[in-house]
């Protein structure tokens, strides 16, 4: 199973090297990869429909409980089949759609890695792995939306999408960590058995909100929906694959996956119904105001996602059933419509629906696909769309509360969706062919077979829904934690309330289609409200954020070294000072201190005198010599307090430093008095306070008990383990030898740096520029 997931990534790595070769005719062969994966996952239908759950686990970071755990149950299987199946058609379609494109190999690379990430996402049983794949899908989506990287709008949409879904990803990570905190595991299967404990936990609401945040951003729920219409800047195969059929459903997948763990509570259900309800109605109405085919489809996709969230929120067995069926329905008809739109765009170079009509005269198979998909989206029998809609209505009708309100919402949504489907699937193919399109050619069969196949599948499943009910739908409902023994899909449910509602929907919807014609007037009318849309609010926020951070950076990064130092020191003084004066006792136990002898007083006096001379002398040479004296005084301290090795090293280094300074200093100018009296006084006060603070801090620290375990360990084992008696040296060359190895490497780098810096000859141009200043 791991191999299956990694195939996509391996293929895209392979393309990095072999892409040039692939760009030619062979690109169509790459569709064999998703096809192979589809067949591989297809064979799991039988075991999974028998109630088996296939688990595979590979160790990754066992110490953190993170492993590559994969689980294939009904829900995962449904998604893997969609990903690989639609993936196959999209790969196939792309080879003609982007034929001869400069970066075709790159495109396939992104698509393949997206497919791998998406498979990983729906198969992961470990929260951390899930998060990693979740982010990978966002990243590959970013690259695909920004595929036309020369267009500014495309880049901006890609950034928006990455920003929104990236925030969602972080929320998911936070949710995973919180869940781990409650349950002690990252495994979703193990969380299933702890559902009670999680729901009773005080952090339950927080966990749910985090998971919601992740799901709503990914699945473009209100008010995070606006990235999805922007994502339509991507080439149409991407819109088909990522932004309608698979990736945007990842959020819904997450909600469904966690329904058995977190669901069943009032908070969970109500929130999902409210958000899903708002989203589905809001964006369904929005479709009226669009003239771009892809814009219409984008909003109807958001609406469909809203329906799925809404159904998940209803939380009944019937709702889960309806959701499972609707995922298939939507994937089939929406992918078809997108592919059809792509063909229209490819052949006529416009997606403006007001300019399109009568195209069935030039591309009949495409027209058939479009019309079938529109019928399925409208829920007209005998398509699978009808089955899905009936189930949705039934689930809403049997809701426990607010039945009438819910029914109105869902029926209205369905009416507008019918309208959207008709506009996208039927309008371009009926009526009179405009003159400008009379010489439009019939597309390549590589282009029209995928949508037609999908549309026909929608018809086949509609006529014979039993094909999918027990092999695919039943395990999904079971995976969501409901009893699925009585699931039977049928086209005809009898003449009942649901059927009457269906008739109303279809009637009103078709009437709407004939009354309201998409026009640019409507589009501009609604554009006035853009200023209060979530998108523009976010943009305003971004602008303010950028200007604040510019100001902040300019304020602190002003290029004066001493300002940086002053700010850092001031901050430290205030922080440490505040903590110390608040919490410390300022006790010095005079009895515990060692005695002061005359030698030590002498050393101290030498040191302090040396420091003062270094600081206040006007001669550079005197300062260097005084600094040498300071080093020697420190050397004395090391001798007094049992550190002969340190004393020797300090002595040698001190000598070398003085030599170094003297060598260089002769070539440097004399000290200049650059600061005025006031500045010097201010700096003096600041540094004195800092010195005082450090001294006090040091005294406070040694008043506390000390732990010498490490030192004792080294000392006890120095001879027994490392055959050495000078413990300091044994630590350096044996116990911590690797550190020393790195240290001498650093020293070498410093030497190379010095050598390079001194021997460097500036290019004449550079030197001249500096001399001109």
């Amino acid at each position: 199973m791991l191999t299956a997931i990694l195939t996509g990534f391996l293929f895209s790595i392979f393309l990095v090297f072999a892409g040039k070769f692939f760009k030619g005719k062979l690109s169509i062969l790459s569709s064999l990869i998703p096809l192979g994966l589809f067949i591989y996952f297809f064979q799991f239908i039988i075991p999974v429909s028998n109630g088996e759950v296939i688990m595979r686990s590979y160790e990754w970071i066992p110490s953190f409980g993170v492993d590559l755990g994969f689980k294939l149950d009904g829900l995962s299987l449904l998604f893997t089949l969609l990903i690989t199946g639609i993936g196959f058609l999209v790969f196939f379609y792309t080879s003609s759609y982007l034929k001869g494109h400069e970066y075709l190999d790159r495109f396939y690379g992104y698509l393949a890695s997206f497919m791998g990430a998406m498979l990983g996402l729906v198969l992961s049983d470990n929260m951390i792995t899930l998060f990693v794949f979740w982010e990978l899908t966002s990243i590959s989506s970013f690259f695909l939306i920004g595929f036309n990287n020369r267009s500014a709008a495309s880049r901006k949409s890609a950034m928006t999408a990455l920003g929104i879904t990236g925030i969602g990803g972080l929320l998911l990570l936070a949710g995973a960590l919180l869940l781990n905190n409650i349950t002690g595991t990252y495994s979703i299967s193990e969380m299933l058995s702890m559902s009670e404990a999680i729901r009773g936990n005080e952090y339950y609401i927080a966990v749910v909100l985090l998971i919601f945040g992740a799901a709503f951003t990914k699945s473009a729920q209100f008010p995070f929906h606006f990235w999805l219409p922007g994502a339509m800047k991507a080439p149409t195969p991407v819109s088909t694959y990522l932004h309608s059929a698979t990736m945007v459903k990842a959020g819904v997948y997450l909600l469904m996956r966690f329904t058995p763990v977190l669901g069943g509570e009032n908070f969970w259900n109500t929130s999902l119904m409210i958000i899903g309800g708002i989203t589905m109605l809001y964006s369904a109405i929005h479709t009226i105001f669009r003239t771009d085919l892809k814009g219409i489809l984008a909003y109807s996709t958001i609406s469909a996602l809203g329906i799925l969230v809404f159904l998940t929120g209803l939380g009944t067995r019937e709702a889960f059933l309806a959701a499972a069926v609707f995922i298939i329905v939507h994937a089939l008809y929406k992918a078809t419509l997108f592919l059809v739109t792509g063909i229209i765009d490819h052949q006529t170079h416009t997606r403006n629906v007001t300019k399109l009509a009568g195209l069935n005269k030039v591309m009949l198979p495409v027209g058939i696909a479009g019309i079938l998909a529109a019928i399925s989206s409208a829920g007209i029998p005998p398509t699978i769309g009808f089955v899905g809609k009936e189930l949705t209505y039934e689930a809403s009708l049997h809701s426990e509360t607010l039945v009438i309100l819910l029914m109105i919402a869902i029926v209205l949504t369905k009416i507008f969706l019918l309208y959207a489907g008709f506009v996208a699937g039927i309008k371009p193919f009926t009526g009179k062919l405009p003159e400008e399109h009379t010489n439009v050619k019939m597309p390549d069969f590589v282009l029209w077979t995928p949508p037609l196949l999908l549309a026909l599948l929608g018809l086949v499943f509609g006529v014979a829904p039993f094909i999918i009910d027990s092999p695919i739908i039943k395990p999904v409902v079971e995976a969501m934690g409901a009893d699925a023994s009585e699931v039977h899909l049928a086209l005809w449910h009898g003449f009942n309330m649901v059927f009457i509602l269906s008739l109303i929907t279809i009637g009103v919807g078709i009437a709407l289609y004939f009354v309201v014609k998409p026009s640019e007037k409507l589009e501009t009318a609604v554009a006035r409200f853009e200023s209060i849309s979530p998108e523009s609010i976010l943009e305003k926020f971004n602008r303010i954020f950028v200007s604040i951070s510019n100001f902040w950076t300019d304020f602190f990064q002003n290029g004066y070294l001493r300002n940086y130092i002053s700010i850092i020191i001031l901050f430290l003084v205030v922080l440490i000072g505040y903590i110390m004066f608040g919490n410390t006792r300022f006790v010095i136990d005079y009895h515990s201190l060692s005695r002061i002898t005359v030698y030590e007083i002498t050393a101290t006096l030498i040191l302090i005198a040396g420091i003062f001379y270094t600081v206040f002398t006007q001669s550079r040479l005197a300062a260097v010599v005084a600094m040498g004296v300071v080093g020697l005084a420190i050397c004395l301290i090391f001798i007094f307090y049992s550190a002969p090795d340190l004393a020797m090293t300090q002595f040698s280094i001190d000598t070398l430093t003085v030599i170094l300074f003297v060598l260089v200093l002769y070539k440097l100018p004399k000290y200049l008095k650059l600061s005025d009296y006031k500045t010097r006084l201010r700096d003096g006060i600041l540094s004195s306070i800092f010195g005082l603070l450090i001294a006090t801090l040091a005294l406070q620290v040694i008043a506390e008990p000390v732990n010498k375990d490490i030192g004792n360990f080294y000392a006890q084992n120095a001879y027994l383990e490392a055959h050495g008696k000078n413990v300091v040296n044994v630590i350096l060359v044996d116990f911590r030898g690797a550190d020393t190895l790195i240290e001498i490497s650093v020293l070498s780098i410093a030497a190379v740096g010095v050598f390079g810096l001194m021997k460097l000859r500036l290019k004449m141009a550079d030197r001249k520029r500096y001399e001109d200043r």
Binding site: L593, L607, I653, S687, L692, A695, V728, L732
Partner: protein
């Protein structure tokens, strides 16, 4: 004696910071060296000071029988001293190089990091 050591550390730190706040390049480097010395002494001090008992196992013994100075801070400081030599020499050379190129000893005149300003 601890108090004397604390005073020394404080003075080293204060002097180091003061020198680093000056505008002269040479003073900056002297400040860095003083600060480094102060830090070494601070680590040494915080490891607790012991008189006349170096961490060297005496004569024929295989383990320590009496009290000894903590070897860990000493090992840390030993590497720190040597590394700081590398740092100092690099800094000194950098200053020299900057001086030959820009012909100023004043840090404030070197604050432009970009070509345009």
């Amino acid at each position: 004696m601890e108090i004397l050591l604390a005073i020394m550390i404080g003075v080293l730190y204060a002097a180091g910071i003061y020198m680093m706040l000056r505008r002269s390049l040479v003073k900056l480097i002297i400040g860095i060296i003083l600060l480094g010395n102060g830090a070494n002494l601070l680590i040494f001090f915080l490891g607790r000071i012991t008189k006349g008992a170096p961490p060297i196992i005496p004569g024929d013994a295989k383990v320590f029988s009496e009290a000894f100075a903590d070897p860990v801070p000493q090992a840390l400081i030993l590497t720190a001293i040597v590394i700081s030599f590398g740092l100092q020499s690099f800094a000194i050379v950098l200053v020299k190089r900057a001086h030959t190129v820009v012909r100023t000893d004043d840090l404030d005149e070197m604050n432009a990091t970009d070509e345009d300003s």
